[in-house]
Protein backbone atom coordinates (compact mmCIF):
# COMPACT_ATOMS: atom_id res chain seq x y z
CA UNK A 1 0.00 0.00 0.00
CA UNK A 2 1.16 3.48 -0.83
CA UNK A 3 2.47 5.84 1.82
CA UNK A 4 1.35 8.76 -0.32
CA UNK A 5 -2.26 9.74 0.25
CA UNK A 6 -4.82 10.40 -2.45
CA UNK A 7 -4.68 14.12 -1.67
CA UNK A 8 -0.90 14.15 -2.12
CA UNK A 9 -1.21 12.41 -5.47
CA UNK A 10 -3.76 15.00 -6.53
CA UNK A 11 -1.37 17.78 -5.46
CA UNK A 12 1.44 16.31 -7.57
CA UNK A 13 -0.99 16.07 -10.50
CA UNK A 14 -1.95 19.72 -9.96
CA UNK A 15 1.72 20.70 -9.95
CA UNK A 16 2.25 18.87 -13.25
CA UNK A 17 -0.89 20.57 -14.64
CA UNK A 18 0.47 23.92 -13.54
CA UNK A 19 3.79 23.26 -15.31
CA UNK A 20 1.90 22.28 -18.49
CA UNK A 21 -0.12 25.50 -18.39
CA UNK A 22 2.99 27.62 -17.78
CA UNK A 23 4.90 25.88 -20.58
CA UNK A 24 1.98 26.34 -22.94
CA UNK A 25 1.74 30.00 -21.97
CA UNK A 26 5.46 30.59 -22.28
CA UNK A 27 5.83 28.72 -25.55
CA UNK A 28 2.76 29.83 -27.48
CA UNK A 29 1.11 32.82 -25.90
CA UNK A 30 3.73 35.32 -24.81
CA UNK A 31 4.32 36.70 -28.30
CA UNK A 32 0.85 36.23 -29.73
CA UNK A 33 -2.35 38.16 -29.23
CA UNK A 34 -5.58 36.94 -27.73
CA UNK A 35 -7.86 34.54 -29.55
CA UNK A 36 -5.16 32.07 -30.53
CA UNK A 37 -3.98 28.65 -29.44
CA UNK A 38 -7.09 27.82 -27.39
CA UNK A 39 -5.48 28.53 -24.04
CA UNK A 40 -8.87 28.58 -22.34
CA UNK A 41 -9.57 25.10 -23.78
CA UNK A 42 -6.36 23.74 -22.24
CA UNK A 43 -7.24 25.18 -18.81
CA UNK A 44 -10.82 23.88 -19.03
CA UNK A 45 -9.67 20.39 -20.11
CA UNK A 46 -7.21 20.22 -17.20
CA UNK A 47 -9.86 21.37 -14.71
CA UNK A 48 -12.35 18.83 -16.08
CA UNK A 49 -9.68 16.11 -15.88
CA UNK A 50 -8.93 16.88 -12.22
CA UNK A 51 -12.59 16.98 -11.22
CA UNK A 52 -13.30 13.71 -13.07
CA UNK A 53 -10.34 11.84 -11.57
CA UNK A 54 -11.17 13.12 -8.10
CA UNK A 55 -14.84 12.19 -8.40
CA UNK A 56 -14.01 8.75 -9.84
CA UNK A 57 -11.57 7.84 -7.06
CA UNK A 58 -13.96 9.11 -4.38
CA UNK A 59 -16.72 6.99 -5.86
CA UNK A 60 -14.53 3.91 -6.34
CA UNK A 61 -12.68 3.99 -3.04
CA UNK A 62 -14.46 2.31 -0.14
CA UNK A 63 -12.24 4.16 2.31
CA UNK A 64 -12.14 7.78 3.31
CA UNK A 65 -10.07 9.84 0.85
CA UNK A 66 -10.20 13.17 2.71
CA UNK A 67 -10.31 13.83 6.43
CA UNK A 68 -9.62 16.51 9.06
CA UNK A 69 -5.83 16.34 8.54
CA UNK A 70 -6.25 16.96 4.81
CA UNK A 71 -8.56 19.88 5.55
CA UNK A 72 -6.14 21.45 8.03
CA UNK A 73 -3.27 21.12 5.54
CA UNK A 74 -5.46 22.60 2.80
CA UNK A 75 -6.15 25.54 5.13
CA UNK A 76 -2.39 26.11 5.56
CA UNK A 77 -1.96 26.11 1.78
CA UNK A 78 -4.86 28.50 1.29
CA UNK A 79 -3.41 30.89 3.87
CA UNK A 80 -0.09 31.06 2.01
CA UNK A 81 -1.86 31.42 -1.32
CA UNK A 82 -4.00 34.27 0.03
CA UNK A 83 -0.93 36.12 1.31
CA UNK A 84 0.71 35.89 -2.15
CA UNK A 85 -2.49 37.05 -3.87
CA UNK A 86 -2.95 40.01 -1.54
CA UNK A 87 0.71 41.06 -1.83
CA UNK A 88 0.48 40.75 -5.60
CA UNK A 89 -2.68 42.83 -5.77
CA UNK A 90 -1.08 45.50 -3.60
CA UNK A 91 1.96 45.54 -5.92
CA UNK A 92 -0.33 45.90 -8.95
CA UNK A 93 -2.15 48.79 -7.26
CA UNK A 94 1.15 50.45 -6.35
CA UNK A 95 2.32 50.06 -9.96
CA UNK A 96 -0.92 51.62 -11.10
CA UNK A 97 -0.70 54.57 -8.74
CA UNK A 98 2.99 55.10 -9.45
CA UNK A 99 2.67 55.11 -13.22
CA UNK A 100 -0.84 56.43 -13.55
CA UNK A 101 -1.80 53.49 -15.71
CA UNK A 102 -0.68 50.05 -16.73
CA UNK A 103 1.56 49.93 -19.79
CA UNK A 104 -0.92 47.78 -21.69
CA UNK A 105 -3.69 45.26 -21.24
CA UNK A 106 -1.22 42.48 -22.15
CA UNK A 107 1.10 43.65 -19.41
CA UNK A 108 -1.72 43.55 -16.85
CA UNK A 109 -2.89 40.12 -18.02
CA UNK A 110 0.71 38.87 -17.83
CA UNK A 111 1.08 40.11 -14.25
CA UNK A 112 -2.26 38.59 -13.21
CA UNK A 113 -1.38 35.27 -14.86
CA UNK A 114 2.00 35.07 -13.12
CA UNK A 115 0.41 36.08 -9.83
CA UNK A 116 -2.13 33.26 -10.10
CA UNK A 117 0.56 30.73 -11.07
CA UNK A 118 2.78 31.88 -8.20
CA UNK A 119 -0.06 31.70 -5.66
CA UNK A 120 -1.13 28.28 -6.93
CA UNK A 121 2.40 26.89 -6.93
CA UNK A 122 3.09 28.19 -3.43
CA UNK A 123 -0.14 26.61 -2.18
CA UNK A 124 0.68 23.22 -3.72
CA UNK A 125 4.31 23.20 -2.57
CA UNK A 126 3.38 24.35 0.96
CA UNK A 127 0.77 21.58 1.22
CA UNK A 128 3.20 18.94 -0.08
CA UNK A 129 5.76 20.07 2.52
CA UNK A 130 3.10 19.91 5.25
CA UNK A 131 2.17 16.38 4.18
CA UNK A 132 5.81 15.26 4.29
CA UNK A 133 6.40 16.93 7.66
CA UNK A 134 3.35 15.21 9.14
CA UNK A 135 3.86 11.82 7.48
Amino acid sequence: MSRISFQEKMLWAQLVGMVVVVLFYGHYLVHSGPGHHYFHALVLVLLLLFVSVRTFFRWRSGSVVEDERDRSIAAIGSRWSNIILWLGLVVILVLYWDHGSMRSANFLIGILFHLLVLAGSVRIIRELIAYRMAA
Binding site: I4, S63, V64, D67, E68, R69, D70, Y131, M133, A135
Partner: protein, 74 residues
Protein backbone atom coordinates in the same frame (compact mmCIF):
# COMPACT_ATOMS: atom_id res chain seq x y z
CA UNK B 1 4.50 19.29 13.53
CA UNK B 2 5.59 17.03 16.39
CA UNK B 3 3.03 17.27 19.19
CA UNK B 4 2.95 17.04 22.98
CA UNK B 5 0.68 14.03 22.76
CA UNK B 6 1.99 10.52 23.11
CA UNK B 7 -0.17 7.57 22.27
CA UNK B 8 -0.39 3.80 22.52
CA UNK B 9 -2.35 3.18 19.33
CA UNK B 10 0.29 0.91 17.81
CA UNK B 11 0.31 -1.32 20.91
CA UNK B 12 -3.49 -1.34 21.13
CA UNK B 13 -3.71 -2.27 17.46
CA UNK B 14 -1.23 -5.07 17.96
CA UNK B 15 -3.24 -6.56 20.82
CA UNK B 16 -6.32 -6.70 18.59
CA UNK B 17 -4.42 -7.69 15.41
CA UNK B 18 -5.86 -4.67 13.65
CA UNK B 19 -4.26 -3.09 10.58
CA UNK B 20 -3.85 0.64 10.12
CA UNK B 21 -6.36 0.56 7.26
CA UNK B 22 -8.95 -1.23 9.42
CA UNK B 23 -8.56 1.34 12.17
CA UNK B 24 -8.72 4.17 9.64
CA UNK B 25 -11.99 2.83 8.23
CA UNK B 26 -13.48 2.51 11.72
CA UNK B 27 -12.65 6.08 12.71
CA UNK B 28 -13.40 7.62 9.27
CA UNK B 29 -9.93 8.96 8.46
CA UNK B 30 -7.28 8.02 5.90
CA UNK B 31 -4.59 5.42 6.60
CA UNK B 32 -1.97 8.19 6.27
CA UNK B 33 -3.63 10.04 9.14
CA UNK B 34 -3.45 6.93 11.34
CA UNK B 35 0.26 6.65 10.46
CA UNK B 36 0.81 10.34 11.33
CA UNK B 37 -1.06 9.98 14.67
CA UNK B 38 0.89 6.85 15.62
CA UNK B 39 4.18 8.65 14.95
CA UNK B 40 3.06 11.67 17.05
CA UNK B 41 3.28 13.84 13.93
CA UNK B 42 -0.36 14.86 14.04
CA UNK B 43 -2.69 15.56 16.95
CA UNK B 44 -6.20 14.39 16.10
CA UNK B 45 -9.33 16.32 16.94
CA UNK B 46 -11.13 15.48 20.16
CA UNK B 47 -13.80 13.67 18.18
CA UNK B 48 -11.33 11.38 16.40
CA UNK B 49 -9.49 10.78 19.67
CA UNK B 50 -12.73 9.63 21.30
CA UNK B 51 -13.53 7.45 18.29
CA UNK B 52 -10.15 5.72 18.63
CA UNK B 53 -10.71 5.09 22.35
CA UNK B 54 -14.20 3.81 21.58
CA UNK B 55 -12.89 1.38 18.94
CA UNK B 56 -10.42 -0.13 21.40
CA UNK B 57 -12.93 0.00 24.26
CA UNK B 58 -10.58 1.84 26.60
CA UNK B 59 -10.63 5.27 28.30
CA UNK B 60 -9.17 8.19 26.36
CA UNK B 61 -6.24 8.61 28.77
CA UNK B 62 -5.16 5.06 28.06
CA UNK B 63 -4.77 5.93 24.39
CA UNK B 64 -3.36 9.47 24.64
CA UNK B 65 -1.00 10.93 27.21
CA UNK B 66 -0.10 14.61 27.41
CA UNK B 67 3.57 15.40 27.83
CA UNK B 68 4.32 19.01 28.74
CA UNK B 69 7.13 20.58 26.65
CA UNK B 70 9.28 21.18 29.78
CA UNK B 71 9.00 17.52 30.77
CA UNK B 72 10.06 16.44 27.29
CA UNK B 73 13.32 18.44 27.44
CA UNK B 74 14.49 16.69 30.59
Amino acid sequence: MSSCLRNTIRELRATQSMTQQELADLIFVTRQTVIAIERDKYSPSLEVAFRIAHVFGVPLEQVFQYEAPAARKR
